[in-house]
């Protein structure tokens, strides 16, 4: 009987695999190009300009398939074009014919790599830039050449780049590889900085916040859906604009107030314009309910991830769920990208996982921003009289724009993926930065400074919440809730790490990498960030 059962099972397995392979043979498209244009492969919206002056255009298609649109423009001295699937070319000539950086993304993922001659640049899982050089061997020397001047760069350019090295390579010129005094390779770095910004922009789902300081982005973040986004005439200033708009400004734009100058958004972002919303206290039960839902969904998510891990363990492939968890809920986007690397159609559980992730992300953002939905309700509902209205001062009703707010999760994501901090360090930095939350209202100047310093989310939220409102319970409660949940997640992840470290390690990260990164952060990044947080908290 046992033998019979074995035989039956074996026969079933064989027949299933045979039918599967048969399907694969008959179903495999001869023209692989046709399947490349499936809508699932579109990861970019070409109507959102990468830089000011870029325009969306229609492709001159004669055939039955292809991308209907693309975007082209000029930034930092290089012309570029990119398709909805992320495929892009950057070159110093409009014909995009010579000295080209070509960016190719893995289908249905945000994992992209830029290539030029023997150079390949890509973002690591932590969002750090790393380059690969085909010609490089151990012992080679590397130089950055600009005309007749050269400077030698350390061998660690082959490891994830720090900010200084990235800036150095981004200045242009050429990267030389010398071996025993002989030049082995010479690679043009023209367009390197633009390509890196593009890679980060893709990974951040076209969020302008990740673009470098001074990047020429259109002054209309709140109007990303607007029809005039790619029409140059609708931009009132060609100068670089603040990278993150204050919600008040976004609301004014939505209300039809024409943007005036680059200084205008800052003026409108003064937090006095934010309404005091005691009604939020009334919505506390709703928040409680949401938090319960959130926790329920977290549990569901964990179960799904664990199930997925179990399923993948059989397949002996790189773990994804564990690393996703370790990167906290804020890095959901990257996790989605990792998961979608696999064939989603073959693993239905991933669909559930993705939907759960999206729901969770929405909840986190909703809870974090709280007011993004609630002030709208306040604005629409009649204002109740009585003690609940603690602020009799007539203030303009401003509906904060959801996209303008940066959640704690996003901040954490920024610190982890962009600055390369580990999660604990990032949390501590966040706690440090959260201390002055009860400080007096920040001025417009401070908002601009903070934005340009890269900690846009922190100052942004502060700009939204005035002193009295900031001290109100609901807002604090929401932040605490998220912090609490994140801390719980961290604790659980740490526990999981301790229990099964081997199963959750990313395959491509070695111990040396961690040691190196830890030393680096201890020596440089952490003190600098602490100083930065201290400066922010000390400033009036």
């Amino acid at each position: 009987m046992k033998y019979f059962l074995k035989s039956v099972v074996a026969a079933l397995v064989v027949s299933a695999s045979a039918s599967g392979s048969l399907r694969a043979q008959t179903g495999a498209p001869i023209a692989d190009g046709s399947t490349a244009f499936a809508s699932e492969n579109a990861i970019l919206d070409t109507s959102i300009p990468f830089a000011i002056g870029a325009r969306e255009a229609r492709q001159a298609l004669r055939g039955a398939f292809g991308w209907p649109s693309f975007q082209e423009g000029l930034v930092e001295g290089v012309y570029f074009r990119f398709d909805p699937d992320g495929y892009a070319r950057f070159a110093p000539t409009p014909r995009l014919d010579v000295d080209v950086f070509e960016v190719i993304c893995r289908p249905r993922t945000y994992a992209c790599a830029a290539r030029k001659e023997g150079l390949e640049a890509f973002l690591t899982e932590r969002g750090q830039l790393q380059i690969k050089l085909e010609e490089a061997l151990a012992g080679d020397l590397f130089f950055v050449s600009e005309g007749v001047s050269e400077i030698q760069v350390p061998e660690r350019i082959l490891q994830p780049l720090d900010v200084q090295l990235e800036l150095l390579l981004g200045t242009g010129g050429e990267l030389l590889i010398r071996r025993g005094g002989t030049e082995v390779s010479r690679i043009s770095l023209k367009g390197f900085s633009a390509v890196v910004a593009y890679l980060r922009w893709i990974a951040a789902r076209q969020d302008y916040a990740v673009l470098p300081r001074g990047w020429p982005i259109p002054n209309a973040q709140g109007q990303q859906d607007g029809s005039g986004m790619t029409a140059g005439a609708t931009w009132n200033s060609p100068m670089p604009q603040p990278q993150v708009l204050a919600p008040g400004y976004a609301a004014s734009v939505a209300a039809g107030i024409a943007p005036a100058t680059s200084a205008a958004p800052v003026t409108l972002a003064v937090p006095q314009s934010v309404p005091v919303v005691p009604q939020m206290a009334e919505s506390a039960p709703q928040d409680t309910l949401s938090s319960q839902e959130l926790r329920t969904e977290l549990e569901t998510l964990k179960q799904i991830i664990l199930q997925a891990q179990v399923g993948q363990a059989v397949g002996a492939t790189a773990p994804i769920g564990s690393t996703s968890l370790r990167d906290t809920t804020a890095s959901f986007g990257l996790d989605v990208a990792q998961m979608t690397n696999r064939d989603m159609s073959e693993q239905p559980a991933f669909g559930e996982l993705l939907s759960a992730l999206e729901r969770l992300e929405r909840h986190v953002v909703d809870l974090q921003m709280g007011g993004s939905a609630m002030p709208k309700q306040v604005a629409e509902a009649p204002i109740p009289s009585g003690d609940a209205v603690a602020a009799p001062m007539p203030v303009p009703t401003v509906v904060p724009d959801r996209s303008g707010l940066h959640s704690e999760a996003q901040k954490l994501d920024f610190l982890v993926t962009q600055l390369g901090l580990d999660t604990q360090t990032a949390l501590s930095v966040l706690q440090l930065s959260a201390q002055p939350r009860n400080a007096p209202p920040v001025t417009a100047t401070r908002v601009g400074q903070a934005d340009s310093a890269g900690l846009a989310g922190v100052s942004d939220e502060r700009a939204q919440v005035p002193q009295d409102a900031a001290s109100s319970k609901p807002v604090l409660y929401q932040n605490q809730l998220v912090d609490q949940i994140l801390a719980e997640l961290e604790a659980e992840i740490a526990l999981i790490d301790a229990e099964s470290p081997a199963s959750v390690r990313a395959v491509d990260v070695s111990v040396n990498d961690y040691v190196l990164l830890s030393r680096y952060f201890k020596s440089a990044a952490l003190p600098a960030l602490q100083d930065m947080a201290a400066r922010v908290s000390d400033s009036p």
Binding site: I30, G33, A57, A60, R62, F65, G66, P68, L96, D97
Partner: protein
């Protein structure tokens, strides 16, 4: 007092003379006044010519105009229209012995602006190699035609197609039947299923067929083959109209089916009063239909002739202007003069549109059904085509690159290239649909090579033939081409490539594919005469001589320009 002649004024004789003169003058004046008066007052009655109903002077009311036959040059010049050639397997043994090829006629324009080309087309039955290529090319359609709809996939087994590629399938179908690769039962089954499906297609906003359809379901889809609508293409429709006319003229028993397809379509926006062609797309923001002029030199005229074959008058679209020329290897290559920076539409110069005009329409005007094969009544089209051929041969002779350029698919990104003779200001520019320069994808296109081989019987096209005639995969059809830089074959199989190759081979056997219409009037012209549908949908009346597109000529290049 005496006169000079010796008479006195008071004499009798002078009196008689004076009286006589007076009588004569008065009589003459009376006569002339009478004649003049009669001419003015009585002439009308005498010169009335009765108008016979249906005669030359009868202005036929709109209700009856559909009954008129379309006027062709065989009717005007009282010549015998061409005859449909027999199928290859039914041809008499001496069929090609008596063929009039006009070999002794020098090339150039004649007084009617018709053009005789420098080289003649190849004619004859297919040899073994060509027949094998034809069978393999037809095998593409055997393999990739969907049973459920009768539509053929544009590219391999990806279930999507356009009207352009559907026309290519019809080309393959007609060629397969005429080359005796399939029999009438199979031909009828396929063409009937196809035409029935096309009649049932859901149109783009109740106007014209959508740009792309799913071949398994017949549903209109977007470029990602998901349900949706993206607009219509005037060029695709123009090519499809050419092949509907070919089928209708060759096989009159299909006429009613074909007419019923077109009588569902609404042509009010695809062609304007000046005869320009317009495509349509959907505005991304407002979701409204946007009509935009479509077509550049080469494709535009070919599509215009497709519309003209059905009675439309695409006068501006059929003109070459505005065009400019670029000197490449001594040849003034014509290209569209509309600036891509202004009009955001590229002006690609490729071989394909000229080939299709030559193969299918014989570089003839739509009203020409009687001129010899070697006289091209759409003269400037044939003369421009000669330049397109010559510049490619010159490149081969001066650089060694075999050249037969067209648009073609490629394997892997960017998946599709316009492999042009000239575009964006650059000769031999290989660009993607979005404009990137990708010279690594330049290739000798199979369809262009075999098309040139058929239409220009030269030493150079013999070389092209040798490179291409065995470039096939027996399971999938003819390869798309051969990479110019030595990367091997372009391993893609498409309906357009295989359809044009079959058309080329059929042209070798039968000459120009379009044959004269043998009936009198057509349902296409007589339907809905009792309603306002014809007016609303812009259905034309049968073209008369005044409606003919003008036959024009352009300056001929006398010597090489370096």
């Amino acid at each position: 007092m005496k006169s000079a002649f010796g008479y006195t004024y008071r004499s009798f004789g002078f009196g008689v003379l004076l009286f006589s003169v007076a009588v004569v003058v008065l009589g003459g004046a009376t006569y002339s006044v009478g004649v003049t008066a009669r001419k003015y007052f009585l002439a009308q009655e005498e010169e009335v010519i009765p108008i016979i109903a249906g005669g030359d002077l009868d202005e036929i009311p709109a209700l009856m105009r559909g009954n008129l036959p379309s006027v062709t040059n065989s009717m005007v010049d009282d010549r015998q229209p061409r005859q449909k050639p027999p199928r290859m397997c039914e041809m008499p043994g001496d069929y090609f012995d008596n063929l009039d090829r006009g070999l002794e006629v020098p090339h150039g324009y004649d007084k009617h602006n018709a053009y005789v080309r420098k080289y003649r087309s190849r004619r004859g039955v297919l040899n073994e190699r060509e027949l094998r290529a034809a069978k393999v090319a037809w095998h593409y359609f055997e393999r990739f035609t969907q049973e459920s709809t009768g539509l053929a996939n544009s590219v391999g087994n990806y279930p999507s197609t356009t009207l352009w590629d559907t026309a290519s399938y019809m080309a393959g179908l007609v060629s397969a039947y005429e080359l005796c690769l399939i029999e009438k039962a199979e031909f009828d089954r396929r063409i009937t299923q196809l035409l029935t499906t096309i009649k049932g297609l859901d149109l783009f906003r109740k106007e014209l067929p959508n740009k792309v359809y799913h071949t398994k379901t017949g549903a209109k889809v977007d470029y990602t083959n998901k349900p949706g609508e993206i607009g219509f293409s005037a060029l695709d429709i123009g090519r499809f109209l050419v092949w509907l006319r070919i089928c209708k003229n060759r096989y009159p028993y299909l006429a009613n089916t074909i007419d019923s397809i077109l009588l569902k379509w609404d042509f009010r926006n695809v062609i304007d009063d000046e005869g320009l062609l317009f495509g349509a797309y959907v505005d991304k923001e407002t979701d409204e239909t946007v009509y935009a002029q479509e077509g550049r030199l080469g494709y535009e005229e070919y599509a215009a002739k497709g519309f003209a074959l059905w009675g439309f008058r695409p006068k501006l679209a059929h003109r070459a202007e505005p065009f400019l020329t670029a000197s490449i290897y001594g040849i003034q290559v014509p290209y569209d003069g509309r600036d891509p920076r202004i009009f955001h539409s590229q002006n690609y110069v490729v071989t394909e549109s000229y080939l299709q005009d030559g193969l299918e329409l014989g570089f003839d005007m739509p009203y020409d059904d009687s001129s010899p094969e070697w006289i091209h009544t759409d003269g400037w089209r044939a003369e421009f085509a000669d330049r397109i051929y010559q510049v490619q041969e010159n490149r081969w002779r001066q650089t060694g690159f075999m050249t037969a350029r067209s648009e073609h698919n490629v394997k892997g990104p960017p998946y599709f290239t316009y492999d042009t003779i000239f575009s964006d200001g650059y000769p031999w520019n290989t660009v993607t649909p979005r404009g990137d320069y990708v010279p690594d994808h330049s290739a000798v296109a199979s369809k262009a090579a075999l098309g040139l081989w058929v239409l220009w019987e030269t030493e150079y096209t013999d070389v092209l033939y040798e490179a291409m005639i065995e470039l096939y995969d027996p399971e999938n059809g003819m390869y798309e081409g051969l990479y110019e830089r030595g990367q091997g074959r372009v391993a893609i199989f498409t309906a357009n490539n295989n359809g044009i190759i079959l058309t080329s081979l059929l042209h070798k056997v039968q000459g120009p594919i379009l044959t004269p219409y043998t009936g009198d009037t057509e349902v296409w012209y007589t339907a809905f005469r009792d309603q306002d549908i014809r007016l609303k949908r812009n259905y034309p009346d049968p073209p008369q001589q005044d409606d003919w597109l003008p036959a024009l000529r352009h300056s001929v290049q006398e010597k090489a320009d370096f």
